[in-house]
Symmetry: C2
Subunit: 316 residues, 2 copies
């Protein structure tokens, strides 16, 4: 298994976007800066989307103008189309990467962006070409990679074909989203094994949801298949939970806790990350779904009486 992984924190985009109320820009800036100081290396900060469709992210310009993020953190924004890219390019000094997205399944893509998959692909190819020419690193994320809530099973061959198209257009990284938590560890292991063959030289990223509690089991399966890049959200925020009330994204702090316990390096200070998640909890005024936010990091230190002898064997 790998001894270090890359984690992209997507909470400030994916999480904040899914809140019913728009979070105050001051709070966003403070939370983003807390995250950026945890040692994480990739941070999706916001998205350039239509303010009338996603008012929660209407302050993307102001957020990007104000946040101070250490040089070593790779900052990305999600862009849905060329207009989004134009918005992002207005902050070229602050942004290192863009993330584009579409779904593998027609009905999910139609519900999400009101286009066919072919139309999305054609549009994103243009976005990726322009972004690459501007020197931006590009990731393409494929939603419903492991199953679709409308169409059931999704053929991995179709997902890899879309991934190859995104890579050919300029994406150096392709992310696979388990949008409604349909993936299982057997499927994940096989999927990432095949993905490495089908998309050689492309960085492959797993974006799991914890919809049925199996998010970290899928992470383990992906690790076993050689995947070393993950996306997650602090406080378990966001992820467009389906059905409503379900869990969406895996919590970054639960992911980091498990990886560190397994001896896998992330660069992240778990206590600093927990402080950021607790601050988000305080800003939002409700308990978040993350587990480690309640339990804290595992404490291995001996703190009480030592182990005693087991005594005499009575039956043997």
């Amino acid at each position: 298994m790998v001894d270090a992984v890359k984690i992209r924190e997507v909470g400030p985009r994916d999480g904040f976007q899914n809140e019913p109320e728009r979070i105050a820009t001051d709070d966003k800036v403070r939370l983003i800066e807390m995250l950026a100081a945890t040692g994480l290396r990739r941070l999706e900060v916001t998205s350039f989307v239509r303010a009338d469709v996603i008012p929660q992210l209407a302050d993307a310009d102001e957020v990007l103008r104000r946040v101070r993020i250490p040089e070593e953190v790779s900052v990305s924004v999600l862009v849905p189309n060329e207009r989004g890219l134009d918005g992002a390019l207005g902050h070229r000094d602050k942004i290192d990467e863009i993330n584009v997205f579409l779904s593998a399944s027609e009905s999910h893509n139609r519900h999400n962006v009101n286009r066919s998959v072919a139309e999305s692909l054609a549009g994103l190819e243009t976005v990726l070409g322009r972004a690459t020419a501007e020197g931006l690193r590009c990731e393409g994320v494929i939603s419903t990679s492991f199953g679709c809530p409308y169409e059931g099973d999704v053929d991995p061959a179709r997902v890899f074909e879309i991934g190859a198209r995104l890579a050919a257009a300029g994406a150096v990284e392709v992310g696979f989203g388990d949008t409604t938590g349909m993936a299982n560890p057997v499927q994940v292991r096989e999927f990432f094994g095949r993905a490495q063959e089908k998309l050689p030289g492309v960085e492959l990223t797993a974006h799991f949801h914890n919809t049925r509690g199996q998010g970290l089991a899928n992470v383990l399966a992906a690790l076993e298949a050689g995947c070393d890049s993950f996306e997650s959200s602090f406080g378990e925020l966001g992820g467009c939970p389906v059905p409503p009330g379900a869990t969406g994204n895996i919590a970054t702090e639960d992911l980091v806790s498990m990886l560190h316990e397994m001896g896998i390096e992330t660069g992240i200070d778990l206590d600093a990350l927990l402080a950021a998640a607790r601050e988000a909890q305080s800003v939002l005024g409700r308990s978040l779904g993350s587990h480690t936010i309640v339990a804290g990091a595992v404490d291995h230190r001996p703190r009480a009486v030592p182990f005693g002898p087991l005594g005499t064997k009575r039956n043997s």
Copy 2:
């Protein structure tokens, strides 16, 4: 990996015991009978403990007298000592198994049962001897097998030594409890590999908690190490959550959902199990922590428009 696993549902004991209010006996009987009709094969029904210490289970006699459970379900009760065994033997016609328990670490055992580990072992050896003589199948559960909240790391050699003592005294099954969710998948895989060498011929059972969200990842690791026996609690009830508010036991329905998705057989009808968990939710008047109770089983069936063509390559 194994193609079938055994699951012991512990909710009616471990779950009901940890509720702040005692659940009405009528409700217990109904929930136990719903569980017993799901196809599960092992069911821990109650415990014979002191009513002044654990009033939640003071109706153990009445519950056992009243429940009607299909012959093919192996019914167990938890017994802490000889007095508990006497209580259980009053229902010899209803009971197939007993579960006894102690902790691997001195401070946890002292906190839990006010005895040293040596004293507990000596007492349980007598209980196991008597129960075996009565024809009862016996499981010994070792709490804090993967770490102790007071003493930090726990040496697996000590856990296996305790397991060997329990086995020598009559336990045909030894369960390993991750009492406060300190286990990680690397540790679990190594642990079960070694346990099989150290305890040949003994059935080895994993009892994980989801304290840091990693419960099902630990299940996956245990499966990979050849473990095929698990304990869990419907609705994610119980498990003495540490710290308060944390998650305890893994939810049986989340476990079953993952296993079925992986093609591993459990004998359990997931929809019937979800109905029992939802009935518990209704009895307790609050949302339970299980994920699948919200999300439902994964639906693989195609239900909408078919996949369309991806269109022409624009960049390649």
